[in-house]
């Protein structure tokens, strides 16, 4: 019988990423509920900085998987190496943060190991030996509960902030080197240059008031009504990704996981549904007003004021009222 929980730890510039600390926290809680040991795995050319950082956490063991072919992340390199480690440990669960890197290879790894992955989960509940995984579906409008059956390893990726890294338990963990059989010829992709996207002209992080527009605006010409409201409030325009993709506003106005992170005094969103990738960029706002015609829109879950209605009717009148109030 498979036993134990393995967390695959991601890192950047020799530091463990926050999303992986959250994953370890989740694994510790699952361990408390199921009585299983928790292991962490670090893959790199040189794992020492990360294993040192993790050695003061409550973990049963840290596996250091060091290999020159793991200096750069590749889906083949990670899959070949981790499949060997997983075969050796035979864990019941493998847990990772649902990062861009995890999106790229964990499903493949699960399949290679004869297991299966449930991605982007927001909760894991082990009651009476049965694990229930919860994830958002329909872009956050609903939650879905999943069960897993079978003998194989169950792989789980956790959405950012699913578990609170502040609740990480400390302890002391031993480090074991795990040598993998990994050659250049195992890796089919060639890693070329890494580079930063174009510099930003607008720094929304410094804005006190943001009027953010989404696809509910329907067409570029309608941007004007949002701009007038922003002007009346003395704020800046922010946007969801599709609005930037369509070129209605510059990419530097995008708020979210692949855009800017903002925390203004007021975030007023117009026709934005509130997908998690948008919400992570603005949930730290001091006050959130959302206008959306769909009462189930997930943006309402994090709003201070949820205005259920048609933005085209409300916004022009709101602009006039703001002008009058100033």
């Amino acid at each position: 019988m498979s036993q134990g929980i393995l967390v695959i730890v991601e890192h950047n510039n020799a530091k463990v990423n926050r999303i992986s600390i959250e994953a370890v926290t989740g694994a510790q809680k699952l361990a408390a509920a199921t009585g299983q040991p928790v292991y962490a795995a670090v893959l790199a050319n040189d794992c020492s900085a990360m294993t040192t950082e993790l050695s003061s956490k409550k973990l049963d063991k840290i596996y250091a998987v060091a290999n020159p072919e793991l200096a750069d992340y590749t889906p083949d390199g990670y899959t070949v190496a981790l499949a060997q480690l997983i075969e050796r440990i035979d864990p019941a669960y493998v847990i990772v943060g649902h990062s861009y890197q995890a999106r790229d290879y964990v499903a493949k790894l699960a399949l290679r190991c004869g297991g299966a992955l449930m991605s982007d989960c927001i909760a894991m509940n082990a009651d009476g030996g049965n694990l229930t995984l919860t994830k958002q579906v329909f872009a956050g409008k609903f939650n879905a509960d999943y069960s897993f059956s079978g003998e194989a390893t169950c792989f789980i990726s956790l959405q950012a902030a699913a578990y609170n890294a502040d609740e990480l338990e400390s302890g002391s963990a031993s480090v074991e080197d795990f040598a993998v059989n990994l050659n250049k010829s195992d890796i089919r992709t060639t890693v070329l240059e890494k580079f930063e996207g174009t510099k930003k002209d607008v720094d929304l992080a410094a804005s006190d008031i943001i009027v953010a527009v989404g696809r509910g605006l329907k067409e570029e010409a309608n941007l004007e009504i949002a701009e007038e409201l922003a002007k009346a409030l003395g704020g800046d325009i922010g946007a969801s990704r599709p609005v930037c993709d369509d070129g209605w506003v510059g990419a530097d106005r995008q708020v979210g996981s692949s855009g800017q992170t903002v925390s203004p005094k007021l975030y007023l969103s117009l026709g934005i549904s509130g997908a998690i990738q948008h919400v992570v960029g603005m949930k730290g706002s001091k006050y959130i007003v959302a206008i959306n015609k769909d009462p189930h829109a997930p943006i309402f879950d994090i709003a201070d004021v949820a205005v259920v209605g048609d933005l085209f009717e409300i916004v022009p009148k709101l602009t006039e009222a703001v002008k009058a109030a100033k």
């Binding site: 499903a107 329909f138 939650n143 879950d301 409300i314």
Partner: protein, 257 residues
């Protein structure tokens, strides 16, 4: 060059969705469907690559009868042919089983390139492209925002976190999961719509593909409306009644007026 685009049909983004009676799926009555968001970009990129490389684009769609409409649209936009994997059981929700059915249906076609969207707007697994690649023994890249064919290789630009990008190169045949934004989405022309009617659509029954589950599988137990964790003031009614209430909040709670 033979290119496949995996194209999924999902409820329209604007639909106000309600759950069905037993909480296992949405109530599909009165819901309209459309092509999944990132799949539009996958289709656009497939058509661009085909244009520059003497290629042919096959749309691959799994779903019940209603997905024929999305297939028609993709053909009208310029795809050359389609495979419809008929799967009446839209509730079958295990990501692995779904990918296996798709992989099985495309296996014999020997595509040089298989594109998928990054993630579906209903389940949002973000796994199908990666799984199909592994099942067919092909290399893959996800979060792709640009592509360039160089002989028997393809160079792609991938989106990373925090505003960074990375270029990588893969040997063909390969599988790419396309992120939104990379190119303009084509519109169907009248001529395209006329021509689409004559384009071949191969029908395959999912049940006939002989896909069996091994190891383990996920089962969707129930869908429900999430419980809110934040105290929210809900304002409803016509504009004249909600606007003064919003102004009051902006003044007294947000203190920005």
């Amino acid at each position: 060059m033979k290119i496949a685009i995996l194209l999924k049909q999902v409820p329209v983004k604007d639909a106000t969705l309600e759950l069905n009676g037993d909480g296992t799926w949405i109530d599909e009555d009165d819901v309209q469907f459309e092509i999944n968001d990132s799949d539009h970009y996958g289709l656009a990129e497939a058509l661009n690559i085909a244009k520059d490389n003497d290629g042919e684009v096959t749309v691959v769609t799994m779903g019940p009868d209603r997905v024929k409409e999305s297939i028609k649209q993709a053909l009208a936009k310029g795809a050359h042919q389609a495979i419809h994997i008929n799967d009446e059981d839209v509730k079958s929700s295990d990501p692995l089983t779904r990918a296996k059915i798709i992989a099985e249906a495309v296996k014999g076609e020997n595509f040089d390139l298989i594109l998928s969207g990054l993630q579906s707007d209903d389940y949002g697994y973000g796994q199908t492209g990666v799984l199909v690649a592994e099942m067919l023994g092909m290399p893959h890249a996800t979060l792709v925002v640009e592509t360039e064919i160089n002989g028997d290789k393809i160079k792609v630009k991938r989106e990373l976190e925090g505003g960074w990008f990375q270029n990588i190169e893969l040997p063909l045949p390969a599988v790419l999961s396309i992120q939104s934004g990379l190119t303009d989405i084509p519109y169907a022309t009248i001529k395209g719509i006329m021509m689409a009617k004559k384009k071949p659509v191969a029908d395959v029954e999912a049940d006939d593909l002989g896909v069996e589950l091994e190891g383990g599988a996920f089962k969707l137990e129930k869908i429900y409306t999430p419980v809110k964790s934040k105290e929210t003031a809900v304002l409803k009614g016509d504009a004249d009644s909600v606007v003064p209430q919003i102004i009051d909040k902006l003044k007294n709670a947000a203190k920005v007026l």
